[in-house]
């Protein structure tokens, strides 16, 4: 299907699925579409996409764990007796066909019942619940830190190309980006906890200690996580700012006599922002990874730590639930960032409706 004259609209929204396909290949495209309804409004389409994606995720997750077969052996160990195996199987409904188990599980999820842990036998939700708040707080701190540091740094570096700010930013980001999060975290521990002794060595105080101890336990993990993503955002912001700055309308503004602060704020930023918003949304994925690693490194009692422990002990219900929850959060946030991009881009605002 060739769409006449709407080239830019696909790239702007940042979602790969919305690219217009070109006039095709060996089989020339019919220029006649099979259907031609009015496109339903954006909100409806977004919600449908959300539901579909979540469903797909749940199927994939459940399917993978079901593929592996009965985990009774792995959970109960090599010397489990037959009766123990049978009991386990029955208690977890593992002898029923996959589809039934899936539907059962899905029904439960929609009611808020996330099943029972293979390992502890207790409710999955009970395991998750206390940790949820702590992890959310940690993610929030990390994300804020990341945005506050990288957006201005990147913008500055991009606008003053090859200036001191740019070189400094590039060097710093390159060095940080090179190290995996656990290495960065390790370095931070050595410097701040061991040598300077200003911050706690690990974050166990989060669940036990008083408020101050508890809060100070968030610092190192949050910084570690933020440092994992800052280089990427700085680089992106810089590339975008540079790209926009070289655009003809910026030069036109310069030739109308508009000078620096107004130039950056009114001409560069609004046009460089949309891809960055998209990227900030996408960056959440690496933030999740960062949380998982950081919580393990710092013994932070959050859902990341729970996730790793459950995976290591093959506790499928816990892993499935957490995956679905995190996946859902991710998809929703991406949808929101897409919506934000559309609102920020006047051109898309008209096209989308």
């Amino acid at each position: 299907m060739g769409s006449a004259g709407s080239p830019g609209s696909a790239g702007g929204a940042g979602s790969p699925g919305s690219a217009a396909s070109p006039a095709g290949p060996g089989s020339p495209h019919s220029t006649r579409r099979g259907w031609n309804w009015r496109r339903p409004p954006y909100l409806v389409r977004a919600l449908v996409k959300l539901a579909a994606t979540l469903l797909a995720i749940s199927v994939v997750v459940f399917g993978l764990t079901a593929l592996a077969g009965n985990p009774a052996h792995d959970i109960l160990g090599m010397d489990a007796t037959q009766s123990q195996l049978a009991a386990f199987t029955a208690a977890n409904h593992l002898n029923q066909p996959v589809v039934v188990r899936y539907l059962h599980w899905l029904a439960g999820v929609l009611h808020g019942d996330f099943g029972q842990s293979y390992v502890s036998g207790g409710s999955v939700w009970a395991l998750i619940e206390p940790r949820l708040g702590r992890s959310l707080l940690l993610i929030l701190f990390s994300w804020l830190l990341m945005v506050v540091v990288s957006v201005p740094a990147g913008l500055l570096a991009g606008v003053r190309l090859r200036g001191r700010a740019d070189v400094a930013a590039t060097l710093v980001t390159l060095s940080i980006a090179a190290f995996p999060e656990f290495v960065i975290g390790m370095v931070l521990i050595i410097v701040f906890a061991v040598n300077l002794k200003v911050l706690p060595v690990d974050s166990t105080a989060v669940s036990q200690g008083g408020l101050f101890d508890s809060l100070s336990s968030y610092v190192l993990p949050a910084v570690t996580i933020a440092l994992g993503s800052i280089p990427y955002i700085v680089r992106l912001m810089r590339a975008n700012a540079r790209d926009v700055a070289s655009h003809s309308y910026v030069r036109s503004a310069v030739l109308r006599g508009i000078s620096e602060p107004a130039l950056s704020v009114r001409h560069i930023l609004p046009n460089a922002a949309p891809p960055v918003v998209t990227a900030l949304g996408l960056q959440l994925a690496s933030l999740v990874g960062g949380v998982i690693v950081a919580e393990t490194l710092f013994s932070f009692p959050g859902i990341g730590q729970l996730l790793v422990q459950s995976a290591a002990s093959r506790d499928a219900p816990v892993v499935e639930t957490l995956t679905l929850m995190i996946g859902a959060a991710f998809v929703i946030i991406n949808l929101l960032s897409d919506a934000l991009v559309i609102m920020l881009t006047p051109k898309l605002r008209d096209a989308g409706r």
């Binding site: 790239g11 979602s15 790969p16 290949p25 593929l67 892993v319």
Partner: protein, 305 residues
């Protein structure tokens, strides 16, 4: 609706001279030009050093990496240059042996991802229509889930280990490469020389592999270098979490995990492997950066991966 009817004329300028003989020397010149970028040189040197360490290391190590050769937790000395770990194994030997899987596994994973991606991505971008729609949806779903989660789910189901990790990382990273490939193919497909080929009636294989693929080479190269960096860090992190390579292997990530509790007293066991992982990642990072600069990263930036 408007395709500009009158394009500003292309300068009909006298081009640079290049005879047939010179074209042959082109490759060598381009390699030299590439290496003249500082990042490329530094990155290449570091990489070569690390590769040397990895390949020669096992033959040069004073002790077998898994053998208990002395009492545990000894400090650095003439016999044990970096001391011994909690079990009494020589840290220096373990370091010399630990690079293999850190470098090899990511390369395997990226190679596998590339194969999957090229076949799927090229075809999808070029064929359009149904194929493209289905592939895009699948890619979207996989990309919708953070990579760590997918690995965790797979490990929950199938257990940990090197093979699982390599396969899963390949499947997880393929969509990124597919997306880049697809976008690049979409950018190149409507160009006139592709249309000319289609009008001649050239088959799909010719058009995709001989017309389109050579023109998206640079973009692909940059993306692969980037993926390799990420793969190295990802797999090292997974090993650190205990989900990848398993102990008693002397993999650097594993070493960091096992020795981290001794950080205060006995940092060598942690710092050495951590540093090496970092240097490896830096070197690939520098090369990726240099590639981006060398090819003029317009296309890649536009694709905004």
């Amino acid at each position: 609706m408007s395709i500009t009817p009158s394009v500003t004329p292309v300068a009909d300028v006298t081009p640079g001279e290049a005879t047939g003989a010179e074209e042959a020397g082109r490759r060598a010149r381009r390699l030299r030009a590439f290496l003249s970028i500082p990042q490329a040189m530094v990155g290449a040197v570091l990489l070569v050093l690390l590769l040397g360490l990895t390949i020669i290391g096992p033959f040069v190590a004073p002790y077998p990496p898994n053998a208990i050769s002395d009492s545990p937790l000894l400090g650095p000395s003439a016999r044990h240059w970096l001391g011994t770990d909690t079990l009494g194994r020589d840290i220096f030997s373990r370091v010399l042996n630990g690079g293999g899987s850190v470098i090899l596994l990511p390369l395997l994973a990226v190679a596998a991802a590339m194969v999957i991606a090229i076949v799927v991505g090229l075809l999808s971008g070029y064929l359009g229509g149904w194929t493209d729609a289905v592939v895009t949806r699948v890619v979207d779903v996989v990309l919708a889930i953070p990579s760590y989660l997918i690995v965790l789910v797979v490990v929950t189901a199938f257990g940990s280990g090197s093979t699982i990790v390599v396969l899963t990382v390949a499947v997880v990273y393929a969509p990124y490469i597919i997306r880049v490939l697809r976008a690049a193919t979409l950018a190149v497909s409507p160009l006139d020389f592709v249309l000319a080929a289609r009008a001649r009636g050239e088959g799909i294989r010719w058009v995709v592999f001989r017309e389109i693929l050579p023109n998206i080479g640079p973009t692909l190269l940059v993306e692969i270098a980037l993926r390799t960096t990420y793969a190295i860090m990802f797999i090292a992190s997974l090993s650190f979490l205990g989900l990848g390579v398993q102990p008693p292997s002397s993999n650097w990530g594993v070493m960091v995990a096992e020795n981290r509790l001794l950080l205060l007293a006995h940092p060598a066991g942690v710092i050495a492997p951590a540093l090496l992982i970092g240097v490896l990642a830096i070197s690939i990072n520098l090369i990726a950066d240099a590639l981006t600069e060398f090819f003029g990263d317009r296309l890649h930036n536009q694709l905004m991966v």
